[in-house]
C-alpha cells in the first residue's frame, strides 16, 4: 500500500517540525497557497515500518550476489559511509569559507592526486555529478580545445556501436554529430572503418577499454595514432576502469580525457540509482578547460579554484562542488585499500570473471568471444537455449531472481543476441561464483523439463513479471487523492 493511502486526516508525526511557529502575516494573500498539498498524514511508526518493509522488497549488494554487467556492483564498505557522515562534513555549508573547510579540502585534494596517479592523467576535476555528466564535460572540453585553436570544422564524434548509450547522448548534448563505428568479429574495433571515418571533421572518439563486450581493445595504440594524426582527441569512458586499475593506465594508452565512475571503481554506493560521481582527468593540453571547481593547494592551504582562477574552463556543472559526500566515500575507500589494494582490484575482478566464465562454459553455456580473455566481465549468449528450448536470456534473468541472484545485464550490448553481461567483481568469493554456476545449470535443466516454469518466472518475489506495455500506454505516474486502485493493493 502506498504511504499516501495510509493517510488519515489529522494524524501527525508531530515532533519533526517546530511546534509553535508564529502566524505568517507578511506574505500577500495573492501569493499564498490556499489548499494544502496532498502529502501523507501518518505517524512516525507508520513511516518507519512502511519504508523498512519497502527496503525489504529490494535486491541489493548487501543481501544478494549482484553480477550486473557494466555496473560494478561490489561491496560498499561501511566505513566509507560512516566517515563521510561525520558531523563536521555533513553540516558544512557549501559556501562556508575555506577557513572552515581545510579538512574537507585536504581529502578532496588528495583524491584528485590519487585519481591522477591511477589513471596516468595530468590533472583531475572532481566536479561532475555522475558518469554521464563526466562524459558531457569531457566532450565539452574537446569542443573547447578545437574552438580555442580556431578549428570549427570538427563537428563529429566517433562512437563504437558497442558503446554505452550515454556516449552518443553526451556527444549530442555537447553539440556534436555522432558517427557510429562497427566492431569486428573478434570484438575489437573495425580499424578499416575507423580509417575511413576519420578526417578534418573528426573532433574525437569515445572509447571504453576494456569494451562493453568484456574484452581489451588490443589495437588501442593504432587507434590513438590514427585519431591523433587526423587531429582528433581520444575520450576514455571509465565505466570499466575496475578491469585495469593498476595494470594499464588510460593516460599511457594515449587518451586525452577520461571520466571515472566512482560509484563503480571506487565502491561508493549505487543508492537505487545514484548518487554517482564522475570526475574527469585530462592530458596537459586540455587542462585549462577542466570544469570548476577544482581544489588547489598553495603553501599548505587548500582553496577552491573557480571561474575567476580558471577563465578557459568549460564552466560549472552543478550549483556547488558536485557530489562531495560521494567523493569523501571514494577517498576513504582508496585510503583503506591503499596502492596495493587498488592494483588488486583489477587482478581479482579479472580472476573472478575468467573463472566464472570458464565454469559456465564447462557447464555447457556459450560465451561470446570464447577465444578472448575476459576482462572484469564477460558475455554469455543464450541464443541456443532460446532457439532449442524457447527460453530467452530474459527468462533466465527472471528465474535467477527466484534463486536469490540479481540478474546480469540483459540485452546489452546490442551486438550479441540473447546476451547476459556478467560482472562478478572482486569482492565475491569462489563459493558465491560456484553457487551462481549451480543456479544457471539448474535453470537450464528446468528449461528442458518444464520451460513454462522459467518463462513464468519470477515466482517467489513480491510481484510477478510486470506489464511494461500497459505501464507505457496507460500512464499512471503519480497517486492522486481518491485513487481507486489503492483499495485492491496487496503491497506491504
Amino acid at each position: 500500500m502506498l504511504i499516501q493511502a495510509q493517510s488519515r486526516t489529522g494524524r501527525r508525526a508531530y515532533t519533526q517540525a517546530p511546534l509553535h511557529p508564529p502566524p505568517v502575516t507578511t506574505i500577500p494573500d495573492a501569493l499564498r497557497r490556499h489548499t494544502r498539498p496532498a502529502l501523507p498524514e501518518v505517524s512516525e511508526l507508520q513511516v518507519v515500518r512502511h519504508y523498512t518493509r519497502l527496503s525489504q522488497q529490494n535486491f541489493s549488494i548487501d543481501t544478494q550476489f549482484y553480477p550486473l554487467g557494466s555496473c560494478t556492483m561490489k561491496y560498499n564498505p561501511r566505513a566509507c559511509h560512516s566517515l563521510a557522515m561525520l558531523p563536521g562534513f555533513l553540516g558544512r555549508h557549501p559556501l562556508a569559507p575555506e577557513t572552515h573547510g581545510q579538512g574537507l579540502l585536504a581529502c578532496l585534494f588528495e583524491l584528485q592526486e590519487i585519481l591522477k596517479v591511477v589513471t596516468g592523467m595530468h590533472a583531475v576535476s572532481l566536479a561532475p555529478a555522475a558518469g554521464a555528466q563526466g562524459e558531457f564535460a569531457g566532450v565539452a572540453m574537446i569542443r573547447a580545445y578545437h574552438r580555442a585553436r580556431g578549428d570549427h570544422a570538427r563537428t563529429e564524434i566517433l562512437v563504437p556501436d558497442a558503446a554505452h548509450g550515454t556516449n552518443p547522448a553526451s556527444a549530442a548534448m555537447a553539440g556534436f554529430q555522432v558517427r557510429e563505428l562497427p566492431t569486428g568479429p573478434d570484438g575489437d574495433l573495425d580499424l578499416g572503418a575507423l580509417h575511413a571515418a576519420v578526417g578534418p571533421q573528426t573532433a574525437g572518439i569515445m572509447l571504453t577499454n576494456p569494451s562493453t563486450l568484456g574484452v581489451f581493445e588490443r589495437h588501442i595504440q593504432t587507434i590513438a595514432q590514427t585519431v591523433h594524426q587526423a587531429g582528433g582527441l581520444l575520450y576514455y569512458d571509465g565505466a570499466n576502469l575496475n578491469a585495469i586499475l593498476g595494470q594499464v593506465r588510460p593516460g599511457d594508452m594515449g587518451f586525452d580525457v577520461i571520466h571515472i565512475n566512482l560509484h563503480k571503481t571506487f565502491s561508493t554506493p549505487h543508492g537505487g540509482g545514484g548518487p554517482g560521481a564522475g570526475p574527469v582527468g585530462v592530458s596537459r593540453r586540455l587542462e585549462p578547460y577542466l570544469p570548476v571547481p577544482l581544489v588547489g593547494c598553495e603553501n599548505g592551504r587548500y582553496r577552491w579554484l573557480t571561474e575567476s582562477d580558471r577563465p578557459a574552463s568549460i564552466g560549472r556543472l552543478t550549483a556547488f562542488g558536485g557530489n562531495i559526500g560521494i567523493l569523501l566515500r571514494a577517498y576513504v575507500y582508496a585510503r583503506l585499500i591503499g596502492r596495493q589494494g587498488l592494483a588488486r582490484v583489477a587482478e581479482f575482478a579479472t580472476l573472478n570473471a575468467n573463472y566464472l566464465r570458464a565454469r559456465l562454459q564447462e557447464a555447457g553455456f556459450e560465451a561470446a568471444y570464447p577465444e578472448r580473455r575476459a576482462s572484469h566481465e564477460f558475455i554469455l549468449s543464450l541464443k541456443r537455449e532460446a532457439r532449442e528450448l524457447g527460453v530467452t536470456a530474459m527468462d533466465f534473468a527472471k528465474r535467477l531472481l527466484d534463486y536469490g541472484y540479481h540478474a546480469p545485464t540483459t540485452y546489452f550490448p546490442l551486438l550479441v543476441p540473447e546476451c547476459l553481461l556478467i560482472e562478478p567483481t572482486e569482492t565475491e568469493s569462489k563459493e558465491d561464483l560456484d553457487g551462481f554456476v549451480a543456479a544457471m545449470t539448474a535453470i537450464r535443466r528446468e528449461a528442458q523439463e518444464n520451460p513454462e516454469l522459467v518463462r513464468g518466472a519470477p515466482h517467489g518475489l513480491p510481484v510477478r513479471r510486470l506489464d511494461e506495455v500497459h505501464a507505457a500506454r496507460q500512464l499512471d505516474l503519480a497517486w492522486r487523492p481518491g485513487d481507486p486502485k489503492e483499495n485492491s493493493s496487496t503491497h506491504g
Partner: protein, 461 residues
Amino acid sequence: MPFIPHTPDDIAAMLATLGVDSIAALFDEIPPELRVGAQALDAIPEARSEMEITRLMQSRARADGEPLCFIGAGAYDHHIPSAVWQIASRGEFYSAYTPYQAEASQGTLQVLYEFQSMMTALTGLDVSNASLYDGASALAEAVLMAVRANRQTKSRRILVPRALHPAYRRVLHTLVAPQGLELVEVGFDPRGGHTPVERLEAALGEEACAAVVIAQPNFFGILESVDELTDWAHAHQALAIAVVNPVALALLTPPGDWGAKGADLACGEAQPLGMPLASGGPYAGFLCCKQEYVRQLPGRIVGRTLDLDGRPGFTLTLQAREQHIRRGKATSNICTNQGLLVTAATIHLALLGAEGLERVAASCHANTQRLGELLCAISGVEPVFERPVFHELALRLPAPTASVLNALAAEDILGGFDLDPDYPELEPALLVCATERRTEDELRHYAQRLAAHLERSPAAS
C-alpha cells in the same frame, strides 16, 4: 586482503580451472609496453586500517568546525528527522542500483513513485520525474526540454532573470549553450528586487522566445508576481518554467496554479527535504511538468502497472526517451541520478506531512523576519529591497561585505552570502537566511557581533 575474500587455496584452484599459473597471465592481451609495474602507483599511500582512517577523518571533520550558519543561497540548514537517514542508509536502499529488474526492485520503485506523487502534490503539476543531479542542472534540463516541447515557436531564446541564483545561471550556460540556445538576461527592479513584466518586454524586444524562467522566491528571497509573469510568457507563446523551493511551496501558490494556465514546468533543488548541507552534495534536482509534455521529460520515470496475476506493481516507464534506448536522440544523457537522496526526501516528506512542512516554512519565514529586525536596528544596516521575502533577506551594509564576513567567520559565525561579486550594483550587500534551526539567542548573538564589527570597521565609500 581488504574486501577481497580469496584464500591462497581459492586462488590456486581458480587458476588451475583456467589453466594459467598466475593472475598476471590473464592480462596477456594488453600490449606489454602498456603494462605498468607496481611502482606506477607509488605516489598513492599504503593501505591503512579502518581505525587509522577513522582517526584521520575525525580530525579533518573537526577541523572544519561547526559554525553558526546564516548562509542560504541555494542550500538550507534544516532539521532532518532521525528516521530519515537511519532508513535511507539501510543496505537494501544504499547498495541497490537502478531498478532495471523491476520484480527485484519494488522497494526502490515504490519509493520513487511516492516521491513523484509528493512532488506533483507540492507543485500542482501532473507529472514528476524521479530526480536529476541538483537544482541547477535540473533547470538546464528544464530549459532544453522547453525548447523541444514548445511547438508554437522554433525560437531557441530563453529569458533568464538576473535575480536567479548566479550559480544556476552559470550552470545553465555550461549545459545549454553547446546546443545553440541563447540566454537573455532580464534585469530586476532596483527598489522592489523583483522581476517586473516591463523588464521581460525590454529583454525580448521584437523577438520570440521559447521559455521564461521564473524563480519563486528569487535569489534575493523576494517573492515575484508569478501570475503576471506566467501570463506574460503564455501571451508570448513561451513556456513558463518555475524554479521553486519545495519548503516554500508549503506557503506559496503552487506553480500549477500560477496565472490563468499555470506554469508548464517546475524544477528546483530538493536539498531542503532531508538532505544534509554536506558542502554542496549529493543533493537532488526535481523536474515536474504538465501531462502534455511528459514525453519530453528527461530522467527516470516510474509508472504503476499490473503483473501477470493482475496485482499492482511499479516499473520504469517511457524508457524510449532515454539514452540506453534512444542513444544520440535521447531527451538527455542522464543515467545514474540521485536515487538515495530521493529516498531520503520521500521519508522526510512522509514524516512532516503538509502541516509539518508548513510549520517549517513558517518558522524559517519568522526567523528571517526577526533576524532582519535585529540587524536593521544596527546603524547603517538596511534592507536592499522593499518587497516581501520568504526566508532570505538582502541587506545593505555600511562596510565592505567581504571584510565583515571574514571578521564574523573568525568567530565561527557564517554571516551570509556576499552579494558584491555577482551584483556590484548593490555593493556592499549581504544575503542572510535564518532557518527554523536558528534560535533567538543565536540571532541576537549574530546581531551583537555584527554591530561590534561595524563599529570598528571603516565605512564603505
